[in-house]
Symmetry: C2
Subunit: 263 residues, 2 copies
Protein backbone atom coordinates (compact mmCIF):
# COMPACT_ATOMS: atom_id res chain seq x y z
CA UNK A 1 0.00 0.00 0.00
CA UNK A 2 3.11 2.16 0.27
CA UNK A 3 1.86 4.85 2.57
CA UNK A 4 4.47 7.52 2.71
CA UNK A 5 4.11 10.83 4.43
CA UNK A 6 0.98 12.04 2.64
CA UNK A 7 -0.85 12.22 5.93
CA UNK A 8 -3.59 14.48 4.72
CA UNK A 9 -4.28 13.11 1.29
CA UNK A 10 -7.96 13.75 0.52
CA UNK A 11 -8.24 10.37 -1.12
CA UNK A 12 -11.75 9.66 -2.33
CA UNK A 13 -13.41 7.08 -0.14
CA UNK A 14 -13.82 3.76 -1.81
CA UNK A 15 -17.44 4.11 -2.64
CA UNK A 16 -19.57 1.05 -2.16
CA UNK A 17 -18.22 -2.22 -0.75
CA UNK A 18 -20.03 -2.05 2.55
CA UNK A 19 -23.34 -3.67 3.44
CA UNK A 20 -22.44 -7.32 3.77
CA UNK A 21 -25.83 -8.48 4.93
CA UNK A 22 -28.59 -8.73 2.40
CA UNK A 23 -31.26 -9.18 5.04
CA UNK A 24 -32.93 -6.39 6.95
CA UNK A 25 -31.17 -4.70 9.82
CA UNK A 26 -31.83 -6.91 12.84
CA UNK A 27 -32.45 -4.57 15.74
CA UNK A 28 -33.52 -1.02 15.99
CA UNK A 29 -30.65 1.08 17.30
CA UNK A 30 -28.11 -0.84 15.25
CA UNK A 31 -27.86 1.47 12.28
CA UNK A 32 -26.07 4.28 14.01
CA UNK A 33 -23.88 1.91 16.00
CA UNK A 34 -22.87 0.00 12.91
CA UNK A 35 -21.91 3.16 11.07
CA UNK A 36 -19.99 4.40 14.08
CA UNK A 37 -18.04 1.21 14.53
CA UNK A 38 -17.26 0.86 10.86
CA UNK A 39 -16.03 4.43 10.48
CA UNK A 40 -14.17 4.18 13.79
CA UNK A 41 -12.29 1.15 12.55
CA UNK A 42 -11.59 2.62 9.14
CA UNK A 43 -10.31 5.87 10.58
CA UNK A 44 -8.02 4.24 13.12
CA UNK A 45 -6.63 1.83 10.54
CA UNK A 46 -6.02 4.68 8.08
CA UNK A 47 -8.32 3.14 5.50
CA UNK A 48 -9.93 6.54 5.68
CA UNK A 49 -6.96 8.87 5.36
CA UNK A 50 -6.56 11.87 7.63
CA UNK A 51 -8.17 14.86 5.98
CA UNK A 52 -10.45 12.78 3.80
CA UNK A 53 -13.91 14.33 3.40
CA UNK A 54 -16.82 12.44 4.90
CA UNK A 55 -19.87 13.36 2.92
CA UNK A 56 -23.09 12.64 4.78
CA UNK A 57 -25.08 12.02 1.62
CA UNK A 58 -22.41 9.79 0.20
CA UNK A 59 -22.09 7.83 3.44
CA UNK A 60 -25.85 7.45 3.55
CA UNK A 61 -25.77 5.92 0.09
CA UNK A 62 -22.83 3.71 1.03
CA UNK A 63 -24.49 2.31 4.14
CA UNK A 64 -27.90 2.16 2.57
CA UNK A 65 -29.63 4.20 5.22
CA UNK A 66 -30.81 7.72 5.88
CA UNK A 67 -28.58 10.59 6.90
CA UNK A 68 -29.86 10.58 10.49
CA UNK A 69 -27.87 7.60 11.74
CA UNK A 70 -24.86 8.78 9.72
CA UNK A 71 -25.10 12.14 11.39
CA UNK A 72 -25.26 10.61 14.85
CA UNK A 73 -22.23 8.44 14.15
CA UNK A 74 -20.25 11.42 12.88
CA UNK A 75 -21.28 13.40 15.93
CA UNK A 76 -19.94 10.71 18.23
CA UNK A 77 -16.72 10.48 16.26
CA UNK A 78 -16.38 14.23 16.46
CA UNK A 79 -16.63 14.08 20.24
CA UNK A 80 -13.60 11.79 20.22
CA UNK A 81 -11.75 14.15 17.89
CA UNK A 82 -11.57 11.51 15.20
CA UNK A 83 -13.39 13.72 12.72
CA UNK A 84 -13.72 17.48 12.39
CA UNK A 85 -17.18 18.84 11.67
CA UNK A 86 -16.89 22.19 9.93
CA UNK A 87 -20.15 24.08 10.47
CA UNK A 88 -22.27 24.27 7.37
CA UNK A 89 -19.43 22.69 5.49
CA UNK A 90 -18.07 19.21 5.12
CA UNK A 91 -16.78 17.01 7.90
CA UNK A 92 -13.33 15.47 7.46
CA UNK A 93 -11.31 12.74 9.05
CA UNK A 94 -9.22 14.50 11.68
CA UNK A 95 -5.85 15.45 10.26
CA UNK A 96 -2.82 13.88 11.86
CA UNK A 97 -0.93 16.85 13.20
CA UNK A 98 2.58 15.58 13.70
CA UNK A 99 3.69 18.88 15.20
CA UNK A 100 1.86 17.87 18.40
CA UNK A 101 3.44 14.42 18.47
CA UNK A 102 5.72 15.31 21.40
CA UNK A 103 2.72 16.64 23.32
CA UNK A 104 0.83 13.45 22.56
CA UNK A 105 3.62 11.25 23.84
CA UNK A 106 3.88 13.42 26.93
CA UNK A 107 0.19 12.89 27.67
CA UNK A 108 0.26 9.20 26.81
CA UNK A 109 3.27 8.62 29.03
CA UNK A 110 1.60 10.29 31.97
CA UNK A 111 -1.69 8.42 31.65
CA UNK A 112 0.04 5.14 30.90
CA UNK A 113 2.23 5.43 33.97
CA UNK A 114 -0.52 6.45 36.37
CA UNK A 115 -2.94 3.80 35.17
CA UNK A 116 -0.30 1.09 35.31
CA UNK A 117 0.71 2.25 38.78
CA UNK A 118 -2.88 2.11 39.94
CA UNK A 119 -3.23 -1.37 38.48
CA UNK A 120 -0.22 -2.56 40.46
CA UNK A 121 -1.74 -1.03 43.58
CA UNK A 122 -5.37 -2.00 43.31
CA UNK A 123 -5.76 -4.84 40.81
CA UNK A 124 -8.21 -7.51 41.93
CA UNK A 125 -6.82 -11.02 41.77
CA UNK A 126 -9.13 -11.97 38.93
CA UNK A 127 -7.64 -9.37 36.63
CA UNK A 128 -4.29 -11.14 36.23
CA UNK A 129 -5.51 -14.05 34.08
CA UNK A 130 -7.63 -11.55 32.17
CA UNK A 131 -4.52 -9.53 31.39
CA UNK A 132 -2.63 -12.66 30.35
CA UNK A 133 -5.40 -13.52 27.96
CA UNK A 134 -5.39 -10.04 26.44
CA UNK A 135 -1.62 -10.12 26.08
CA UNK A 136 -1.84 -13.45 24.30
CA UNK A 137 -4.45 -12.09 21.94
CA UNK A 138 -1.96 -9.41 21.04
CA UNK A 139 0.78 -11.99 20.58
CA UNK A 140 -1.44 -13.98 18.26
CA UNK A 141 -2.26 -10.97 16.12
CA UNK A 142 1.45 -10.14 15.88
CA UNK A 143 2.18 -13.63 14.63
CA UNK A 144 -0.55 -13.27 12.03
CA UNK A 145 0.73 -9.84 11.02
CA UNK A 146 -2.86 -8.64 11.28
CA UNK A 147 -2.38 -4.90 11.60
CA UNK A 148 -5.92 -4.02 12.53
CA UNK A 149 -6.08 -6.71 15.16
CA UNK A 150 -2.64 -5.75 16.46
CA UNK A 151 -3.57 -2.16 17.17
CA UNK A 152 -6.95 -3.19 18.55
CA UNK A 153 -5.63 -5.86 20.90
CA UNK A 154 -2.77 -3.64 22.01
CA UNK A 155 -5.25 -0.97 23.05
CA UNK A 156 -7.48 -3.58 24.63
CA UNK A 157 -4.58 -4.85 26.71
CA UNK A 158 -3.70 -1.45 28.06
CA UNK A 159 -7.33 -0.56 28.65
CA UNK A 160 -7.65 -3.74 30.68
CA UNK A 161 -4.73 -2.59 32.81
CA UNK A 162 -6.48 0.71 33.38
CA UNK A 163 -9.68 -1.08 34.29
CA UNK A 164 -7.74 -3.09 36.87
CA UNK A 165 -6.47 0.20 38.25
CA UNK A 166 -10.01 1.06 39.20
CA UNK A 167 -10.13 4.74 38.29
CA UNK A 168 -12.78 5.15 35.59
CA UNK A 169 -11.91 8.78 34.93
CA UNK A 170 -8.25 8.11 34.23
CA UNK A 171 -9.05 4.90 32.39
CA UNK A 172 -11.42 6.68 30.07
CA UNK A 173 -8.93 9.39 29.21
CA UNK A 174 -6.19 6.83 28.73
CA UNK A 175 -8.45 4.97 26.34
CA UNK A 176 -9.02 8.08 24.28
CA UNK A 177 -5.28 8.63 23.96
CA UNK A 178 -4.70 5.01 23.01
CA UNK A 179 -7.33 5.31 20.31
CA UNK A 180 -5.68 8.37 18.85
CA UNK A 181 -2.37 6.53 18.93
CA UNK A 182 -3.69 3.65 16.87
CA UNK A 183 -3.43 5.79 13.76
CA UNK A 184 0.23 6.38 14.47
CA UNK A 185 0.75 2.68 15.02
CA UNK A 186 -0.76 1.87 11.64
CA UNK A 187 1.37 4.54 10.08
CA UNK A 188 4.57 2.70 10.90
CA UNK A 189 3.47 -0.90 11.01
CA UNK A 190 5.40 -1.78 7.89
CA UNK A 191 8.51 -0.27 9.36
CA UNK A 192 7.91 -2.31 12.50
CA UNK A 193 7.77 -5.52 10.52
CA UNK A 194 11.04 -4.80 8.80
CA UNK A 195 12.82 -4.31 12.09
CA UNK A 196 10.98 -6.98 14.01
CA UNK A 197 10.54 -4.59 16.91
CA UNK A 198 7.05 -5.72 17.74
CA UNK A 199 8.26 -8.84 19.46
CA UNK A 200 10.04 -6.71 21.99
CA UNK A 201 6.73 -5.02 22.59
CA UNK A 202 5.00 -8.32 23.24
CA UNK A 203 7.58 -9.28 25.81
CA UNK A 204 7.15 -5.97 27.54
CA UNK A 205 3.46 -6.67 27.94
CA UNK A 206 4.11 -9.85 29.87
CA UNK A 207 6.74 -8.13 31.98
CA UNK A 208 4.19 -5.49 32.89
CA UNK A 209 1.72 -8.15 33.96
CA UNK A 210 4.40 -9.69 36.18
CA UNK A 211 4.97 -6.36 37.90
CA UNK A 212 1.26 -5.78 38.35
CA UNK A 213 0.77 -9.28 39.72
CA UNK A 214 3.65 -8.71 42.15
CA UNK A 215 2.15 -5.36 43.20
CA UNK A 216 5.45 -3.73 42.36
CA UNK A 217 4.24 -0.18 41.80
CA UNK A 218 7.57 1.40 40.98
CA UNK A 219 8.52 -1.45 38.72
CA UNK A 220 5.25 -1.22 36.82
CA UNK A 221 5.71 2.52 36.50
CA UNK A 222 9.21 2.03 35.13
CA UNK A 223 8.02 -0.49 32.55
CA UNK A 224 5.10 1.69 31.50
CA UNK A 225 7.44 4.61 31.00
CA UNK A 226 9.89 2.49 29.04
CA UNK A 227 7.01 1.18 26.95
CA UNK A 228 6.00 4.70 25.94
CA UNK A 229 9.61 5.60 25.23
CA UNK A 230 9.90 2.53 23.00
CA UNK A 231 6.94 3.72 21.02
CA UNK A 232 8.28 7.24 20.81
CA UNK A 233 11.76 6.18 19.69
CA UNK A 234 10.49 3.72 17.13
CA UNK A 235 8.10 6.23 15.65
CA UNK A 236 10.79 8.87 15.43
CA UNK A 237 13.11 6.41 13.73
CA UNK A 238 10.32 5.53 11.33
CA UNK A 239 9.81 9.17 10.47
CA UNK A 240 13.47 9.65 9.67
CA UNK A 241 13.74 6.43 7.70
CA UNK A 242 10.68 6.82 5.55
CA UNK A 243 11.68 10.35 4.76
CA UNK A 244 14.90 9.26 3.13
CA UNK A 245 13.47 6.17 1.49
CA UNK A 246 10.23 7.38 0.03
CA UNK A 247 11.19 10.73 -1.35
CA UNK A 248 11.60 10.40 -5.10
CA UNK A 249 12.63 13.12 -7.50
CA UNK A 250 9.37 14.24 -9.05
CA UNK A 251 8.58 16.60 -6.21
CA UNK A 252 5.79 19.06 -6.92
CA UNK A 253 6.92 22.56 -6.05
CA UNK A 254 3.47 23.86 -5.19
CA UNK A 255 3.01 21.20 -2.55
CA UNK A 256 4.74 22.24 0.66
CA UNK A 257 4.87 18.71 1.97
CA UNK A 258 2.92 16.96 4.67
CA UNK A 259 1.50 19.88 6.59
CA UNK A 260 -1.31 21.87 4.93
CA UNK A 261 -1.94 24.13 7.86
CA UNK A 262 -5.31 25.81 8.16
CA UNK A 263 -5.01 27.41 11.59
Amino acid sequence: MAKGLDLVAPSPVEEAAAQPEGVRRPVRGAGSRFVYETLHREILSLVLRPGAPLDETRLARRFGMSRSPIREALSRLSAQDLVMMLPNRSTLVAPLDLTTFPRYVEALDLLQRINTRLAAQHRPAASIPELRRKAELFDASVKLQDHLEMSASNSAFHIAIAAAGGNPYLARQYGALLDAGRRLLHLHFEYLEQTGGEYVLADEHHDMIDMIAARDVEGADRLAHAHTRQFHDRFMRFLRTSYVDDFPFERDDTDTGAEPNDR
Copy 2:
Protein backbone atom coordinates in the same frame (compact mmCIF):
# COMPACT_ATOMS: atom_id res chain seq x y z
CA MET B 1 -33.74 26.24 47.09
CA ALA B 2 -32.63 23.95 49.88
CA LYS B 3 -30.98 21.23 47.89
CA GLY B 4 -30.14 18.43 50.18
CA LEU B 5 -28.68 15.13 49.22
CA ASP B 6 -31.45 14.00 46.93
CA LEU B 7 -28.94 13.72 44.14
CA VAL B 8 -31.05 11.58 41.94
CA ALA B 9 -34.43 13.18 42.35
CA PRO B 10 -36.25 12.89 39.04
CA SER B 11 -37.75 16.31 39.45
CA PRO B 12 -39.84 17.32 36.46
CA VAL B 13 -38.11 19.95 34.39
CA GLU B 14 -39.68 23.35 34.61
CA GLU B 15 -41.53 23.27 31.39
CA ALA B 16 -41.48 26.38 29.29
CA ALA B 17 -39.58 29.53 30.29
CA ALA B 18 -36.95 29.34 27.59
CA GLN B 19 -36.97 31.08 24.22
CA PRO B 20 -36.25 34.66 25.21
CA GLU B 21 -36.06 36.00 21.66
CA GLY B 22 -39.27 36.44 19.81
CA VAL B 23 -37.50 36.91 16.50
CA ARG B 24 -36.37 34.12 14.24
CA ARG B 25 -33.22 32.20 14.94
CA PRO B 26 -30.43 34.30 13.41
CA VAL B 27 -28.02 31.84 11.84
CA ARG B 28 -28.30 28.31 10.64
CA GLY B 29 -26.27 26.07 12.92
CA ALA B 30 -27.40 27.98 15.99
CA GLY B 31 -30.28 25.77 17.04
CA SER B 32 -28.25 22.80 18.10
CA ARG B 33 -25.56 24.97 19.67
CA PHE B 34 -28.10 26.96 21.65
CA VAL B 35 -29.75 23.81 22.98
CA TYR B 36 -26.36 22.34 23.83
CA GLU B 37 -25.16 25.40 25.70
CA THR B 38 -28.41 25.85 27.55
CA LEU B 39 -28.60 22.24 28.69
CA HIS B 40 -24.89 22.23 29.46
CA ARG B 41 -25.32 25.20 31.75
CA GLU B 42 -28.45 23.85 33.38
CA ILE B 43 -26.89 20.47 34.02
CA LEU B 44 -23.67 21.84 35.50
CA SER B 45 -25.57 24.27 37.70
CA LEU B 46 -27.90 21.51 38.90
CA VAL B 47 -30.98 23.30 37.56
CA LEU B 48 -31.49 19.99 35.84
CA ARG B 49 -31.06 17.51 38.66
CA PRO B 50 -28.96 14.39 38.23
CA GLY B 51 -31.20 11.59 37.07
CA ALA B 52 -33.84 13.90 35.64
CA PRO B 53 -35.34 12.58 32.41
CA LEU B 54 -34.64 14.57 29.27
CA ASP B 55 -37.51 13.91 26.94
CA GLU B 56 -36.63 14.72 23.34
CA THR B 57 -40.20 15.55 22.42
CA ARG B 58 -40.66 17.72 25.48
CA LEU B 59 -37.35 19.51 24.88
CA ALA B 60 -38.35 20.08 21.28
CA ARG B 61 -41.53 21.77 22.47
CA ARG B 62 -39.61 23.76 25.06
CA PHE B 63 -37.06 25.12 22.61
CA GLY B 64 -39.57 25.53 19.84
CA MET B 65 -37.69 23.44 17.33
CA SER B 66 -37.61 19.97 15.87
CA ARG B 67 -36.12 16.93 17.55
CA SER B 68 -33.09 16.87 15.26
CA PRO B 69 -31.13 19.70 16.89
CA ILE B 70 -32.23 18.43 20.32
CA ARG B 71 -30.90 15.02 19.44
CA GLU B 72 -27.57 16.41 18.33
CA ALA B 73 -27.20 18.43 21.51
CA LEU B 74 -27.99 15.41 23.66
CA SER B 75 -25.52 13.36 21.68
CA ARG B 76 -22.76 15.85 22.38
CA LEU B 77 -23.68 15.99 26.04
CA SER B 78 -23.61 12.22 26.14
CA ALA B 79 -20.07 12.22 24.78
CA GLN B 80 -19.06 14.33 27.77
CA ASP B 81 -20.84 11.97 30.13
CA LEU B 82 -23.21 14.71 31.20
CA VAL B 83 -26.25 12.72 30.12
CA MET B 84 -26.92 9.00 29.78
CA MET B 85 -28.71 7.87 26.66
CA LEU B 86 -30.51 4.60 27.33
CA PRO B 87 -31.07 2.85 24.00
CA ASN B 88 -34.66 2.92 22.85
CA ARG B 89 -35.58 4.44 26.17
CA SER B 90 -35.26 7.88 27.68
CA THR B 91 -32.07 9.85 28.20
CA LEU B 92 -31.36 11.20 31.69
CA VAL B 93 -29.09 13.74 33.24
CA ALA B 94 -26.06 11.76 34.34
CA PRO B 95 -26.47 10.68 37.97
CA LEU B 96 -23.92 12.00 40.43
CA ASP B 97 -22.24 8.89 41.70
CA LEU B 98 -20.64 9.98 44.94
CA THR B 99 -19.07 6.57 45.43
CA THR B 100 -16.51 7.49 42.78
CA PHE B 101 -15.73 10.84 44.36
CA PRO B 102 -12.32 9.66 45.64
CA ARG B 103 -11.47 8.43 42.14
CA TYR B 104 -12.56 11.74 40.72
CA VAL B 105 -10.36 13.71 43.08
CA GLU B 106 -7.48 11.41 42.28
CA ALA B 107 -7.84 12.12 38.58
CA LEU B 108 -8.42 15.83 39.07
CA ASP B 109 -5.37 16.12 41.27
CA LEU B 110 -3.15 14.44 38.73
CA LEU B 111 -4.35 16.52 35.78
CA GLN B 112 -4.34 19.72 37.79
CA ARG B 113 -0.79 19.17 38.94
CA ILE B 114 0.62 18.21 35.56
CA ASN B 115 -1.11 21.05 33.74
CA THR B 116 -0.01 23.60 36.32
CA ARG B 117 3.53 22.27 36.20
CA LEU B 118 3.56 22.54 32.42
CA ALA B 119 2.26 26.08 32.68
CA ALA B 120 5.12 27.02 34.99
CA GLN B 121 7.55 25.48 32.52
CA HIS B 122 6.22 26.64 29.19
CA ARG B 123 3.91 29.61 29.71
CA PRO B 124 4.40 32.36 27.16
CA ALA B 125 4.86 35.79 28.68
CA ALA B 126 1.52 37.00 27.38
CA SER B 127 -0.37 34.41 29.39
CA ILE B 128 0.35 35.98 32.77
CA PRO B 129 -1.90 39.05 32.41
CA GLU B 130 -4.50 36.79 30.84
CA LEU B 131 -4.42 34.60 33.95
CA ARG B 132 -4.66 37.66 36.20
CA ARG B 133 -7.72 38.78 34.32
CA LYS B 134 -9.35 35.39 34.63
CA ALA B 135 -8.57 35.24 38.35
CA GLU B 136 -10.14 38.66 38.82
CA LEU B 137 -13.25 37.56 36.99
CA PHE B 138 -13.53 34.76 39.51
CA ASP B 139 -12.98 37.19 42.38
CA ALA B 140 -15.75 39.40 41.06
CA SER B 141 -18.21 36.54 40.78
CA VAL B 142 -17.37 35.50 44.34
CA LYS B 143 -18.14 38.99 45.57
CA LEU B 144 -21.47 38.91 43.76
CA GLN B 145 -22.24 35.43 45.11
CA ASP B 146 -23.13 34.45 41.55
CA HIS B 147 -22.91 30.67 41.73
CA LEU B 148 -23.13 29.98 38.04
CA GLU B 149 -20.51 32.58 37.23
CA MET B 150 -18.30 31.35 40.06
CA SER B 151 -18.11 27.80 38.81
CA ALA B 152 -17.74 28.97 35.21
CA SER B 153 -14.96 31.46 35.89
CA ASN B 154 -13.17 29.03 38.17
CA SER B 155 -13.07 26.46 35.38
CA ALA B 156 -12.08 29.14 32.89
CA PHE B 157 -9.17 30.14 35.10
CA HIS B 158 -7.81 26.63 35.38
CA ILE B 159 -8.37 25.95 31.70
CA ALA B 160 -6.34 29.06 30.93
CA ILE B 161 -3.52 27.65 33.01
CA ALA B 162 -3.69 24.42 31.04
CA ALA B 163 -3.67 26.37 27.79
CA ALA B 164 -0.53 28.15 28.96
CA GLY B 165 0.99 24.74 29.60
CA GLY B 166 0.78 24.04 25.91
CA ASN B 167 -0.33 20.39 25.90
CA PRO B 168 -3.72 20.26 24.16
CA TYR B 169 -4.29 16.61 25.04
CA LEU B 170 -3.82 17.10 28.76
CA ALA B 171 -5.63 20.44 28.70
CA ARG B 172 -8.66 18.90 27.06
CA GLN B 173 -8.90 16.08 29.58
CA TYR B 174 -8.38 18.50 32.43
CA GLY B 175 -11.23 20.60 31.08
CA ALA B 176 -13.54 17.61 31.02
CA LEU B 177 -12.76 16.86 34.66
CA LEU B 178 -13.28 20.47 35.65
CA ASP B 179 -16.66 20.44 33.95
CA ALA B 180 -17.73 17.35 35.83
CA GLY B 181 -16.57 19.00 39.04
CA ARG B 182 -18.76 22.03 38.51
CA ARG B 183 -21.76 20.00 39.59
CA LEU B 184 -20.02 19.15 42.83
CA LEU B 185 -19.13 22.81 43.32
CA HIS B 186 -22.76 23.84 42.94
CA LEU B 187 -23.75 21.10 45.30
CA HIS B 188 -21.93 22.69 48.22
CA PHE B 189 -21.96 26.37 47.32
CA GLU B 190 -24.31 27.21 50.14
CA TYR B 191 -22.07 25.45 52.58
CA LEU B 192 -19.13 27.40 51.17
CA GLU B 193 -20.86 30.68 51.79
CA GLN B 194 -21.58 29.83 55.38
CA THR B 195 -17.95 29.07 56.08
CA GLY B 196 -16.50 31.78 53.84
CA GLY B 197 -13.99 29.33 52.47
CA GLU B 198 -14.20 30.60 48.94
CA TYR B 199 -12.02 33.59 49.67
CA VAL B 200 -9.18 31.27 50.49
CA LEU B 201 -9.70 29.77 47.07
CA ALA B 202 -9.42 33.15 45.41
CA ASP B 203 -6.13 33.87 47.13
CA GLU B 204 -4.79 30.51 46.06
CA HIS B 205 -5.48 31.42 42.46
CA HIS B 206 -3.26 34.47 42.64
CA ASP B 207 -0.56 32.51 44.42
CA MET B 208 -0.61 29.99 41.60
CA ILE B 209 -0.17 32.76 39.05
CA ASP B 210 2.83 34.03 40.99
CA MET B 211 4.45 30.62 40.88
CA ILE B 212 3.73 30.24 37.18
CA ALA B 213 5.09 33.70 36.47
CA ALA B 214 8.24 32.87 38.45
CA ARG B 215 8.59 29.58 36.55
CA ASP B 216 8.68 27.78 39.88
CA VAL B 217 7.60 24.34 38.74
CA GLU B 218 7.74 22.61 42.09
CA GLY B 219 5.99 25.48 43.82
CA ALA B 220 3.22 25.51 41.23
CA ASP B 221 2.82 21.77 41.62
CA ARG B 222 2.60 22.12 45.38
CA LEU B 223 -0.07 24.79 45.13
CA ALA B 224 -2.06 22.84 42.56
CA HIS B 225 -2.02 19.82 44.83
CA ALA B 226 -3.03 21.87 47.85
CA HIS B 227 -5.80 23.42 45.78
CA THR B 228 -7.27 20.03 44.99
CA ARG B 229 -6.91 18.96 48.58
CA GLN B 230 -8.78 22.09 49.68
CA PHE B 231 -11.63 21.16 47.40
CA HIS B 232 -11.61 17.58 48.58
CA ASP B 233 -11.59 18.47 52.25
CA ARG B 234 -14.29 21.10 51.95
CA PHE B 235 -16.52 18.82 49.98
CA MET B 236 -16.08 16.01 52.46
CA ARG B 237 -16.92 18.36 55.31
CA PHE B 238 -19.98 19.46 53.39
CA LEU B 239 -21.04 15.86 52.88
CA ARG B 240 -20.74 15.09 56.57
CA THR B 241 -22.58 18.25 57.53
CA SER B 242 -25.47 17.87 55.16
CA TYR B 243 -25.57 14.20 55.88
CA VAL B 244 -26.27 14.90 59.50
CA ASP B 245 -28.73 17.64 58.66
CA ASP B 246 -30.76 16.05 55.94
CA PHE B 247 -30.74 12.40 56.76
CA PRO B 248 -31.66 12.24 60.40
CA PHE B 249 -33.58 9.03 60.71
CA GLU B 250 -33.56 6.99 57.57
CA ARG B 251 -29.87 6.24 57.69
CA ASP B 252 -28.83 3.18 55.74
CA ASP B 253 -26.58 0.98 57.83
CA THR B 254 -24.74 -0.39 54.83
CA ASP B 255 -23.32 3.06 54.18
CA THR B 256 -20.04 3.45 55.99
CA GLY B 257 -20.31 7.18 56.26
CA ALA B 258 -18.28 9.87 54.60
CA GLU B 259 -15.70 7.73 52.84
CA PRO B 260 -17.48 5.52 50.34
CA ASN B 261 -14.52 3.41 49.33
CA ASP B 262 -15.09 0.62 46.90
CA ARG B 263 -11.58 -0.52 46.32
